[in-house]
C-alpha cells in the first residue's frame, strides 16, 4: 500500500506520515518552526506516528480510530461508573427476599420509583445486556488503544539516537545552556549520572542519560492484565469451567451432591451453631449486653465426602468410598477434586420424627388407645395395632401453610409438618378424618370420636452447603496479578532522560520525564554539582512568569 512519508530536512531520514519528531535526529516536524522557544514540544509517544492519528480511510480505520481515542475510553468508563452507581440506589433482585414476586416487591416497598426502577430492568442491572456490552466495549477500547500507542512507542524508545537536533532540545521543558564544557566536567557528569543509576548512551560526544524506561511499559502491561481478566470472566460460561449449586443436608444424612454427575456424596455428621454467651472474655461483655439479639459465633458442619466408585450401570447401588473428612466453617470451605463446599446456610431444629397417640375425644385423661411414631424422612403410610385399630397417613405436608383454607407445603423440608390421618376403629370401613400439626388438631366434621395428639418429637439441624467449582479463578488471578505489576511499574517509577549536546560554544542540556517533574528537577540539580553548568530551568514556568509580567 502506498504510504505518505515526510523527509527530515536536517538529516534526510524518511519518517512515516503523522510523525511529529524525526525518528533519527529528533528535529520537530510539526508546522511550528523548530526554533520557536515558547512552545514546548509534545512528547507524547515520543512524537511517533500513531496509527489512529494517521489513517482514516477504510471502515476498519474508522472503527480503529473510534476505539483508540482516549476520549471515547474515558467516556465509556464514566458511563460504566454512572450505571454502576444507579444499580445501588435500590437493592438488586438477588438481595430481595427469595419467596416474593420481584415486581410486587419493588412496587410495594419503593412505590412508583421502585416500579419504574423494576420496569427499566435496573433490578438486574449488572447482568443486563447493555451493562455487559459497556464493559465489553471498555475491553475492546483497552485492547486497541494499547496496540495503537504501544507499538510505535516501543519502536521509538528502543531506537533512540543520543544525538538530538537543537530544535528538539530547545523545546524541552527542562533546559540549560552553558558557555563552558570540558573533559573534566564530562567525567564529573558521568560519575554523577552513574551514581543516580542512569544508563548512558553516547554518539559523537553527545550523551543520552536514561533511566526507568520500563516504567513506560506499565500502562500496556496493566491493560494486558485487564484484558486477561475480562476474558477470564467470559470462561464462566464454558460448562466444565464453572459449577454453582446448593444442597441441604441434615444431620446423619448422606446425600448426593448436585451438579457432580451423581459422583460425589456428602454426609453431615453434625452441625454446630454457637452464639456468644455470658462466659466470653470480659472485653466483649459490654458489646454482648448492648446487642439485642444473640451474636453468632461459629457455624460448622462436620462433613464426610464420598465418591461413588460403581460402574454407573442404571439401577446399581452406589459404592461410596470416603475421600475426605473435615469441617466446613465460614471462611474455611472444604475442598475436594476441584470442588469447594461452603457453609452457606442452616436450619436449626428441623423435625426428624414425631410421635402421636390416639385417644377418645371424650376422654379427659387422654389415655392412649394406640401410639405410633412417624419418621419424617420416610413416613410409613399404615399403622395397624393389636387392638384392631388402624391409622392411615393420607397426606403429609412437610412445611405446611393454609392457602385459602387448603393446606399446602411451602417446601419439602420438615420445618412445620402437617398430617391428614384416616382413623379406622376396629371393624369400621369408614374412616374418621383428622388433621394434625404443631399446636393444631383440626376435626373437619366436628363429630370425631377419636383424636390424634402429638406426644413427642425429635429434631436435628440441617446445613445448607453451597458447591462451587471455578476454574476461571487462576485466569482471573493471573489477570489481576499482571494488572498490579503493570500499574506499579507505571506509577511507582518514572522514565527520565537527559540529553547532553556539546556545541561549538559550550553545551546544551535538556531533560524530559513522563511525570513528577519536581523530583526530576531536583535530581538534575544534584547531577550538575561539581560542574560549572548553568542550573537547569523550567521553560514552562518561565514562560508563565513572562506572561504574567507583561
Amino acid at each position: 500500500m502506498f504510504m505518505k512519508t515526510i523527509t527530515c530536512n536536517a538529516c534526510g531520514h524518511i519518517n512515516k506520515e503523522g510523525t511529529m519528531i524525526c525518528g533519527s535526529c529528533g528535529k520537530p516536524l510539526d508546522s511550528i518552526s523548530g526554533e520557536d522557544k515558547n512552545t514546548l514540544l509534545n512528547m507524547r509517544y515520543d512524537g511517533t506516528a500513531v496509527r489512529s492519528k494517521t489513517r482514516n480511510r477504510s471502515i476498519i480505520d474508522k472503527i480503529w480510530n473510534f476505539f483508540s481515542s482516549i476520549k471515547i475510553g474515558v467516556t465509556l468508563i464514566v458511563l460504566a461508573l454512572i450505571s454502576s452507581a444507579v444499580g445501588t440506589i435500590l437493592p438488586q433482585e438477588m438481595y430481595i427476599p427469595q419467596n416474593v414476586d420481584a415486581f410486587t416487591h419493588y412496587r410495594d416497598e419503593y412505590g412508583l420509583f421502585g416500579q419504574i426502577y423494576y420496569q427499566l430492568g435496573f433490578h438486574n442491572l449488572y447482568s443486563s445486556w447493555w451493562y455487559m456490552i459497556l464493559i465489553a466495549l471498555i475491553g475492546i477500547s483497552i485492547f486497541i488503544v494499547s496496540i495503537d500507542r504501544g507499538v510505535p512507542l516501543y519502536k521509538a524508545l528502543t531506537n533512540q539516537n543520543p544525538k538530538r537536533h537543537t530544535g528538539f532540545l530547545k523545546r524541552q521543558k527542562l533546559y540549560s545552556e552553558s558557555e563552558t564544557y570540558d573533559e573534566d566536567e564530562k567525567e564529573q557528569l558521568l560519575f554523577n549520572l552513574k551514581k543516580h543509576r542512569y544508563n548512558i548512551f553516547e554518539k559523537d560526544g553527545h550523551l543520552l542519560a536514561e533511566k526507568g524506561r520500563f516504567a513506560r511499559w506499565g500502562p500496556y502491561v496493566n491493560h494486558l492484565g485487564l484484558i486477561i481478566f475480562l476474558l477470564g470472566t467470559l470462561f464462566r460460561f464454558v460448562p466444565f469451567m464453572y459449577v454453582d449449586d446448593f444442597v441441604w443436608v441434615r444431620e446423619g444424612e448422606t446425600v448426593v451432591i448436585p451438579s457432580t454427575s451423581q459422583e460425589y456424596y456428602v454426609e453431615n455428621k453434625k452441625f454446630i451453631i454457637e452464639n456468644y454467651g455470658e462466659d466470653e472474655a470480659e472485653v466483649f461483655a459490654e458489646a454482648i449486653q448492648n446487642q439485642e439479639g444473640p451474636i453468632a459465633k461459629h457455624f460448622e458442619t462436620q462433613a464426610v465426602i464420598y465418591k461413588d466408585q460403581s460402574t454407573n450401570i442404571v439401577g446399581e447401588e452406589p459404592d461410596l468410598n470416603q475421600i475426605k473428612e473435615g469441617s466446613i466453617i465460614v471462611n474455611k470451605p472444604l475442598k475436594f477434586d476441584g470442588f469447594s463446599l461452603y457453609q452457606s446456610s442452616y436450619q436449626t431444629n428441623e423435625f426428624k420424627s414425631m410421635s402421636f397417640k390416639l385417644h377418645e375425644t371424650s376422654d379427659e385423661n387422654e389415655d392412649a388407645i394406640a401410639e405410633f411414631k412417624i419418621d419424617l424422612d420416610n413416613p410409613e403410610n399404615n399403622f395397624t395395632f393389636d387392638n384392631g385399630y388402624r391409622i392411615e397417613l393420607d397426606q403429609f405436608y412437610p412445611d405446611y401453610y393454609l392457602d385459602e383454607g387448603q393446606p399446602k407445603s411451602q417446601s419439602n423440608y420438615p420445618r412445620n409438618p402437617g398430617f391428614v390421618f384416616f382413623v379406622y376403629p376396629p371393624n369400621e370401613e369408614e374412616p374418621e378424618v383428622s388433621f394434625a400439626a404443631i399446636g393444631k388438631n383440626i376435626d373437619p366434621t366436628n363429630d370425631n370420636d377419636y383424636k390424634i395428639g402429638l406426644t413427642d418429637f425429635e429434631v436435628r439441624n440441617a446445613s445448607g452447603l453451597s458447591l462451587k467449582k471455578d476454574y476461571t479463578l487462576p485466569i482471573l488471578g493471573l489477570g489481576a496479578f499482571i494488572f498490579m505489576i503493570g500499574v506499579i511499574q507505571g506509577m511507582y517509577w518514572q522514565h527520565r532522560r537527559i540529553w547532553f549536546h556539546p556545541t561549538s560554544k559550550g553545551i546544551i542540556v535538556a531533560g524530559h520525564t513522563n511525570k513528577n517533574w519536581f523530583g526530576f528537577k531536583n535530581e538534575v540539580d544534584k547531577i550538575f554539582t561539581g560542574t560549572s553548568l548553568q542550573a537547569i530551568k523550567d521553560l514552562e514556568e518561565d514562560s508563565k512568569e513572562d506572561r504574567s509580567q507583561s
Partner: protein, 396 residues
C-alpha cells in the same frame, strides 16, 4: 483485659491531643517569616510531634488488638479511627517526599475530625461474627484504608491548590463550590458536636410507630426535629418533633438518621455563618493569603503523586484482596454488593483521573476538582453506604 482497653483508649486520647498540638506547630511554620534556619527547626518540631502522635495512635491500635484478640477494624468506630491513623501515615509518606508543611496543616485537622467523628459511634470491643473471622479481615481492611488515605492526601493537596489558585476577587462557580466543600467540613463538626453534647447530657426520647404492619420503637439520642412517620412519643416532657418524616423513607431508623443529618447540616450552617460573619469574606478567600508562598506546581504534583501511589494500593486492597476474601467467605469473588460496587466506582473514577491527566493534560485546577470529587466518592462509600444502603458490609 479491661485495663488494656482503657489503656488503649488513653493512647487514643493522647494521640488526639498531640495531633492538635502538631496542627498548631504546622501553623507556626506557615506564619514564620524568620530565617530559614528557624523555619527548618519549626518544621522538624511539627513533623516530629506528628510522628509522636502517630506512635501513640499505633499503641492504641496494638493494645486494642491484643485486648480483643482480633484487629480492631471490625466496626465503624474502629474503622474510621484506623482510617484517621492511615491518613496521618499517608501524610508522613508524602511529607518525606516533598517536605511541604502546608500539607500537615491541612491533613491533621481532617485526621482529628475523622477521629472525633468515629468516637460518636459505639466504642465497645465487639466480638467477631463468623464471616469476619479470617486473616483477610486485617489484610483487606488495612490495605483498603491505607489506599483510601493516600488518595485522601490528593484531596487535601487539591483543596490547598484550589484555595491558593481560585480567583477570589469575583464570585464564580468555583468559589461557590469551594465554599460548599468547606461547609461540609463544618457540617461534620456539627455532627460531632450535636451527637456528643446530647450524649453528654444523656438525652433520650422514644417513639413508637407503625412499620410494615408491626409497631416498632426507636430511641432518639438527640432532640427530634423530625419524628418517625405517624410516630407517637412516649416521653411527655420531651420536645415533640417539628415535622414527621415522609412516608417514602425506608428502614426502621430512617427518620432518626434524617433527623441527625438535618441537625448536623443546620449546626454546620450556623457555625459556617458565624465564622463567615467574623471574617466578613468567603472562608477560602480568608485562607488564601496564607498560602501565597506555596508553589502551585508542587501542590499539583503532590495531588497527582498521591493518586499515583494510592491507586495501586487501593486496587490491591479494595478489589483484589476483597475478591479473594469474598471467594473464601461467601463463595463468590464478586457479588455486586453496594460496598463492592462503590469500590469499583472508586476504581473507575481514579482510572479516569489518571487517563485525563496523563493523556489529555488535565493538570492544575481541573485535576484538583477531580481529587475533591474522588474523596467525596470514598466518603460516600465509607459513610453513606454503611449507614444508608444496607448490605453485607453494614457495620453500624
Amino acid at each position: 483485659m479491661g485495663d488494656l482497653v482503657s489503656l488503649s483508649s488513653t493512647f487514643l486520647y493522647v494521640a488526639f491531643f498531640i495531633y492538635l498540638i502538631a496542627t498548631v506547630l504546622f501553623a507556626a511554620t506557615i506564619r514564620d517569616k524568620k530565617s530559614k534556619k528557624n523555619n527548618d527547626f519549626a518544621s522538624k518540631l511539627a513533623v516530629g510531634t506528628t510522628i509522636v502522635g502517630f506512635v501513640s495512635q499505633l499503641l492504641y491500635f496494638i493494645t486494642r488488638w491484643i485486648a480483643a484478640g482480633h484487629a480492631p477494624v471490625s466496626n465503624l468506630f474502629e474503622f474510621v479511627t484506623f482510617f484517621g491513623m492511615m491518613l496521618v501515615f499517608a501524610f508522613l509518606l508524602l511529607y518525606f517526599i516533598y517536605r511541604v508543611n502546608l500539607l500537615g496543616l491541612f491533613t491533621l485537622p481532617i485526621a482529628l475530625l475523622l477521629i472525633a467523628y468515629a468516637s460518636v459511634f459505639p466504642r465497645e470491643v465487639t466480638p467477631l461474627v463468623p464471616s469476619l473471622k479470617s486473616h483477610w479481615l486485617y489484610i483487606h481492611v488495612t490495605t483498603v484504608s491505607l489506599g483510601e488515605a493516600i488518595l485522601a492526601i490528593s484531596f487535601i493537596a487539591g483543596l490547598i491548590y484550589l484555595i491558593r489558585q481560585v480567583d477570589q476577587t469575583t464570585s464564580s462557580k468555583s468559589t461557590k463550590w469551594l465554599e460548599i466543600v468547606i461547609y461540609t467540613l463544618f457540617a461534620t463538626i456539627g455532627f460531632v458536636l450535636v451527637s456528643s453534647v446530647y450524649a453528654g447530657m444523656g438525652y433520650s426520647s422514644t417513639f413508637e410507630f407503625p412499620f410494615k404492619g408491626d409497631t416498632r420503637s426507636v430511641e432518639y439520642e438527640i432532640p427530634p426535629l423530625i419524628g418517625p412517620n405517624e410516630g407517637v412519643m412516649l416521653d411527655q416532657e420531651r420536645m415533640s418533633p417539628l415535622v414527621e418524616a415522609p412516608s417514602f423513607l425506608q428502614g426502621v431508623d430512617a427518620a432518626k438518621k434524617l433527623n441527625t443529618l438535618i441537625w448536623s447540616m443546620l449546626l454546620g450552617f450556623v457555625l459556617y455563618l458565624i465564622v463567615r460573619l467574623i471574617l466578613r469574606k468567603r472562608i477560602a478567600a480568608s485562607i488564601q493569603p496564607f498560602l501565597k508562598r506555596a508553589n502551585p506546581e508542587l501542590i499539583d504534583e503532590i495531588c497527582y503523586r498521591a493518586v499515583a501511589i494510592g491507586f495501586p494500593v487501593f486496587t490491591l486492597g479494595g478489589l483484589i484482596f476483597a475478591a479473594i476474601w469474598a471467594q473464601e467467605a461467601w463463595d463468590r469473588y464478586w457479588g455486586w454488593d453496594p460496598k463492592e460496587v462503590w469500590a469499583l466506582i472508586t476504581f473507575f473514577f481514579y482510572a479516569v483521573f489518571l487517563h485525563l491527566r496523563l493523556s489529555r493534560g488535565w493538570h492544575g485546577e481541573k485535576s484538583a476538582w477531580l481529587a475533591v470529587i474522588g474523596f467525596a466518592i470514598i466518603m460516600f462509600n465509607l459513610i453513606v453506604v454503611n449507614l444508608v444502603i444496607a448490605g453485607l458490609h453494614s457495620y453500624a
